[in-house]
Amino acid sequence: MSNLWDVLTGNSESLSSKLLLHAASLVVVACMFGVIVFVVETRRAEQRENDSNIQKYLSLHDVDFGDPVDRSIFRESLGVFLPNQSERNDSLLLAIDDLRQRQFSDPAYKSGSQLQGLTLEKIGEIVGMYVQFLGVYLVVLVVLFVSAERIGLYMFVKTKQHRASYLSQFVEGARQLRYRGKLEKRWIVARRLSLLLLKALGKGAVLAILFSPAYVIAYAVRTSFDTSTLVFMAFLGVVSNGVLIQTANRFFTLLVAESHKGYVQTAVVKGLSDSYEWDTPRGIPRSALFNVRRGIRSHVFQHIFLNARFQFIPALKEYASFLVTGLIIIEMALNIQGHLCYELLQQILYRQYDVACFIVFGIFFTVKATEVGVDIWHEREKKRYGY
């Protein structure tokens, strides 16, 4: 019994316990949303019934409830036909006022979608949007993982080369410029310095783009490009909101941490190379950035990469939630009609909380499915290494 409890609560480390835990989370959240939907639907049904009872009074042709005289006559008439029920009659008048108010101001009434809620048609519509959202999400996830790995690798190798940044090299070079003798030499150095400055500015611009929120980039290029396409959305999903740089930085951090570990020293002592110069006999070929396993032989980097990657896979679970946040921001902020997250915003506006819950559950399911996928992938990797 205690073993079963351990499996159910994730105290066991096995894949089956993790999957059970994910399934349990989905069930619990589904139940929570189910309760919310039920409550909202029940209230909506009650409201519908009340409103239809009250609508009869609003349909009276000779009564203008906006006119105080008509209202007064109506109130007196109620007193005549339903004597000794003044509280009920007052409540009725208040209910009529409330319905009139809602018909005037509530967007759900104004748009004509009032009180429909989570119908089958609506579900079908949302499922279609969800499939589209999922497609973009999967593309972004794969591109993000591959790009982050490559960028992280590049950052790691550059760090190990111990070269100063472009800006530092520019500052140092500028200081020494006045000590260069002939004009021609100064001109050569100045040209080199200009190139360095351009590289530094370029790097700064790239960083600025990578850290920009999606809506800033989208609005900046809106008049030149169509920002409502799926391709552009996927591009924004990868490049903006700082997701790419944070994920790459995470992999870079893992590589650095692994490079300080003892087994790297053992590998050096066994004669493996620890030089990180590009394209030298004992260094790292640039092509290895795209295929580490085949590209590098007899180098400690093989060890470092293997271990860092093994730890990077479960870290993807953290970034799934962050990535979904980014896509939600993109869809909502760019007002792309017919997209899932914009629809979520609209449903909140129209107070269709049951529909909103359904969409949120879909988003939650996406994150959970990613976690399940990552757990299965990590489990396969663990089996490869005898776990």
Partner: protein
């Protein structure tokens, strides 16, 4: 024969770590290097081998910047013909490669005598077990510390066997290579080392805290006496010096211990542990004989020094943690000062009655056991004493094991700035000051130099005289066999 000579300066951002002039190693000899833990032996050795991280440290070797040394011919020769066996085997093996593939990587790819070397180091295990070990990945299988250490040693011996005799740069550095090995395996290691040394005439630097190696070298390799040097790295007038260590100082002291019986032991039993204990699905039993079949309860009487022995990895530390209630066993029966403790005893009971009150324990790694970011005086904060210790009381306590190191600033010094030996002494004092009836010491002489070890043992002796009982786990068998009564030696076995 010439000497290899180094001037070594190593500093971090915050302070100087090593500053030694004239660090000498006799070529084609074995240098056994002693010294307190943290004094700079490993750092110096790593610097010489070109293995320190220049991003984090400021290093100069023989007056040169470290990056120049890393490009030197001298280092290239050392890397080509030498080897380094690291102190901490757990982190020095790649968790995602099998042990066999790590044994055959890089310069070790083509070595014919791998099987012979491995068989020698696993002489007492069946060959099926050896094959199994070599096929595993270090992380999930978790070979014992001793097994990992043997893998690293095997790598070194493989390299040694292919190094041409008297090759340039053939420097083999072994940093605490036998810390996790029992005496039998340690002797096997030394035999292999000496055999390779005789045939290759390489230079060997053997860093160790195991003074009993002196006995082994003296008795088994007397013909190599002119090729074995004993040195000690220590502080003299505030400066780090490499000085000669006289083997007779240790041998004489041990001999004196043999002749000296310890204090009267009382008959009153403080603690009795039933011999069968179960944890993590493993069954352990305690006996009085090394190959004993008959389980016997472990008793600790007043004034007794109990010595618990077992090969590395069996579970000595696990057993004492169970006795302390730090690990919950699946089966346990123990009577401590008249009260019974079993696997069902609540944690709250251990916390309220046992920890720091009836029993205390000193863990083997002072670096882990102490808060490195605390000050020396903070180490004594939070202890369950009748009155909290003020600075005067702390100074009096420290003076038991610290002499000329005690100055005004010592109490305010962060623990991380102490040497390994100082940390270990502080680690011991924190538990000793509680003056519990029972004290458990796990490798108490870890990281201590000879002088400090003598002081610690004197303190232990004092406790025994006052009627306290001490249980010891230690690989310093020569020392503790001399100090323990035969009836107080116990052996731990795993029941398979």
């Amino acid at each position: 024969m010439s000497d290899l000579r180094y001037d070594i300066h190593i500093a971090s951002d915050e302070r100087e770590l090593v500053a030694i002039q004239d660090f000498r190693l006799a070529e084609s000899s074995i240098t056994v290097l002693f010294g307190e833990s943290g004094i700079g032996k490993s750092l110096s050795a790593l610097a010489i081998a070109g293995l320190l991280d220049r991003d984090q440290l400021d290093i100069r070797l023989n007056g040169r910047e470290y990056r120049d040394y890393l490009r030197s011919v001298e280092l290239a020769d050392l890397r080509k013909n030498g080897f380094f066996v690291f102190q901490e085997p757990s982190s020095h093996l790649n968790p995602l490669m099998t042990l066999r593939s790590q044994l055959r990587e890089g310069a070790l790819t083509k070595v014919s005598d791998e099987e012979g070397i491995v068989r020698r180091l696993w002489r007492h295990s069946p060959s099926s077990h050896v094959n199994e070990i070599l096929s595993v990945y270090p992380k999930p299988y978790r070979p014992s510390g001793g097994e990992k250490q043997r893998i690293l040693a095997a790598m070194a011996f493989k390299k040694m066997s292919t190094t041409p005799a008297s090759a340039k740069g053939a420097l083999f550095i072994f940093d605490e290579p036998t810390g996790n090995l029992d005496n039998q395996l340690r002797d096997e290691f030394l035999d292999l080392l000496v055999e390779n040394f005789r045939s290759r005439h390489c230079t060997v630097l053997l860093i160790t805290h195991d003074y009993s190696m002196i006995s082994r070298f003296t008795t088994s390799y007397a013909d190599l006496a002119h090729k074995i040097y004993y040195k000690e790295l220590g502080l003299e007038r505030g400066r780090l010096q490499l000085r000669e260590f006289l083997p007779s100082a240790y041998l004489g002291w041990v001999k004196a211990q043999k002749a000296h019986a310890l204090a009267e032991r009382g008959e009153s039993t403080l603690m009795k542990l039933q011999p069968n204990v179960r944890i993590f699905g493993r069954a352990l039993k305690v006996t009085r004989h090394p190959a004993g079949r008959k389980p016997e309860p472990l008793s600790m009487a007043k004034g007794s020094l109990v010595y618990l022995k077992a090969p590395s990895g069996v579970g000595k530390t696990t057993l004492v943690k169970i006795m302390m209630g730090l690990l919950q066993a699946e089966e346990l029966s123990m009577v401590l000062e008249g009260v019974e403790y079993t696997q069902r005893t609540l944690r709250q009971v251990w916390s309220t009655h046992v920890w720091g009150r009836q029993m205390a324990m000193v863990f083997q790694h002072a670096d882990e056991a102490l808060n490195q970011n605390a000050r020396v005086k903070d180490v004594f904060a939070g202890l369950p004493l009748k009155t909290p210790m003020n600075e005067a009381a702390i100074t009096r306590t420290l003076s038991q094991l610290f002499d000329d190191e005690l100055d005004r600033e010592f109490l305010r010094k962060p623990v991380k700035y102490l040497s390994g030996g100082q940390k270990q002494r502080l680690n011991l004092l924190r538990s000793m000051v509680l003056d519990t009836d029972i004290l458990i010491l796990d490798e108490p002489l870890n990281g201590l130099d000879f002088q400090s070890s003598v002081k610690v043992l004197a303190n232990v002796e004092d406790k025994l005289r006052r009627g306290k009982s001490v249980l010891v786990i230690s690989h310093n068998e020569e020392i503790f066999d001399a100090l323990t009564m035969p009836e107080d030696v116990y052996y731990l076995h795993e029941i398979t």
